[in-house]
Symmetry: C2
């Protein structure tokens, strides 16, 4: 299966949108120096691990090294590139390119390290450096039709793999064994693999929101929390969570489950274009607080997904983001009772002009009850 690529002209159009955003938000700078490799992939199609992109009204140049020369020709035909050899440092190569810009250059402050910034500032004496925050991320937060299709596929692959794997749940296998089978099922459907190290947590392990996997056996306790997603060859991801029963239902489990599920519903009911995402977080959080579990939901409600598992926008009490049609975000409230169990339910949600569309079709109204083979 060939790697999916967006329709011809997409990358160039994204670069044009970035130029427009730069002209609007920072009219005083001549160019933006993009440091994030994910942002570079979004803007150019280049997927290598080491690059910078200088882009402005009068300049457009990819900087990388000779390991990637052939790959850049393949992935970005026609894009101007400066390819350094191993004898030249990345900073020196960058400084040479900056020297050709007339005016100041903004760096991506969230991505460039303080070290590299200080080095560039010292060496590129003729080019005043400015800072910029989240310009490309802001573009990426709203997905186009092609991107939404990619994420839909990543969600479908994830849920089909989940259903197949859980229909064959084996009491003797460990959390880790189950993760390998789940990943194989993802790959059998065309995924590159997991989109992040999955969380497969038996019983009280589910009370650590960022547990990964270990040796406990499926069925050692009554509940099982699974947080997983697929990364597709084109780079787009899904990110879902279900909490299921694999044995005796722990005391208070159903009350917690129903609370968390209602917290998902509360978020979905409110989510539509124009709503501040901190309000969506608050509405969901209120459901949990009213049930008396407020102290046991310590993380934000969700985050954007796309080329990364965590990207703009944020759904949290600290967020300044506002829901916009085309955003794809997670809604993932949870309640974690230390030493007992945790329940999290996570949906991937597309913000539509009319409201919110849940991309997964996995049921969640009741906890799945699974029989171990």
């Amino acid at each position: 299966m060939p790697t999916p690529t967006p329709p011809p002209g997409t990358h160039a159009a994204r670069r044009d949108r970035l130029r427009a955003a730069l002209a609007e938000q920072q009219p005083d700078v001549a160019a933006l120096l993009v440091d994030s490799t994910v942002n570079i992939a979004y803007l150019t199609g280049f997927t290598g691990s080491s690059a910078r992109l200088l882009i402005g009204p009068d300049v457009e140049r990819l900087l990388s090294d000779s390991r990637y020369a052939t790959q850049i020709e393949r992935q970005c035909p026609g894009l101007d590139a400066t390819i350094r050899t191993q004898a030249e440092s990345f900073v020196d190569s960058t400084v040479k390119v900056l020297a050709k810009v007339r005016g100041s250059v903004a760096v991506e402050a969230e991505h460039i390290s303080l070290h590299d910034f200080e080095k560039l500032k010292g060496a590129a004496a003729g080019t005043p450096l400015r800072t910029s925050d989240g310009l490309v991320e802001g573009l990426r937060a709203t997905k186009d039709e092609w991107e939404i299709e990619q994420i839909r596929t990543a969600v479908t692959v994830a849920e089909e793999a989940f259903t197949e794997t859980l229909n064959d749940l084996r009491g003797g296998e460990s959390e880790r064994d189950l993760s390998y089978r789940l990943e194989a099922a993802l790959r059998a459907r065309g995924a590159k693999g997991f989109s992040f190290a999955p969380i497969i947590a038996v019983g009280e392990n589910g009370a650590c929101p960022h547990y990964e996997v270990g040796d406990p056996k499926i069925g050692d306790a009554g509940s099982l929390l699974i947080d997983w997603g697929a990364r597709m060859p084109g780079g787009y991801v899904s990110d879902l969570t279900r909490t299921v029963l694999t044995g005796e239902e722990p005391e208070e489990f159903r009350r917690v489950y129903d609370t968390v599920n209602a917290a998902v519903d509360a978020a979905l009911a409110l989510l539509k274009p124009g709503v501040p995402l901190k309000d969506v977080d608050a509405a969901s959080r209120a459901v949990i607080a009213e049930a008396g579990y407020g102290d046991y939901f310590g993380h934000g409600l969700g985050h954007g997904i796309g080329l990364q598992v965590h990207e703009a926008a944020r759904l949290s009490s600290l967020s300044d983001d506002v829901a916009t049609a085309g955003m794809v975000v997670t809604v993932e409230p949870g309640v974690y009772l230390p030493g007992r169990f945790g329940v999290r339910i996570e949906e991937d949600v597309l913000v539509t002009p009319a409201g919110a569309e849940t991309l997964s079709s996995l049921p969640r109204a009741e906890p799945l009850r699974l029989r171990l083979a």
Copy 2:
């Protein structure tokens, strides 16, 4: 299999070594704010994805959030921790902790983003901020006995999985299929999986030094380059490359192979404590240049491995590092002939008091010739 952890007291001893290095190299600062999660794992055992560590003669405090509270109790018993809730930003939480330090605090300039640095600088007005480079990395570059044992295991697992998988090489399978089988073989031997996205490159794909995997079938061309490694549950990695023949030998292949192999030998012959690593790079590079392939070896000779696949020290023409007993580094010269094929051979090498020990026992004097099933 339980996750391997170093002998009791190891993390505390590493923090003491860091304090000593800080006192020697930056006696004017009261503490170091560690931003790198890998450095934090090395110093504390905490493996979560979001944390900072403040450490100095009079202070030692881990900062994280409530998602990780239980994990921190498990992994770092006895370590003072500040756990913020979702209602407080990481910067605000950090500023509160910094406010208790009397004197200036150094940040890890290579890890902290310019954005976070500016925010901390603005908010922590009473705490002068300084910069620091590579202090923890410098400690990590030299491995202790326990770490060397972990890396040896990662190398053994990688080579056993390689041998098993390549003894069953199938002409009909793609580069991607082969990567999945190789990863399953790694996991069957206790690895978490690959230590990085492997490069499995048929024929001319091997001429892209950082190609990953794709749809070409094994056997579509005569040569196959495989760059892979294992990540073990304790976090330590291996990183090896072999180039093998799976069909008709491409013209000039053997001459290139022998050159690259001689370039490995030249590096190993020179590598011992006290030798500047740029000299090792130069010696290896000279072999390739003398054979007329100097323009086709565009990357550095190698890098340290440990908790990361790329870490200090560097073997390159730009390196200031000097070989020290206990370093574990890759030696990986290559020659890449665009449109034709690439040859790279990579060894993981321990610097011993007497010289260099190759950790892998996979043969390399002649290219492996494999028969497709």
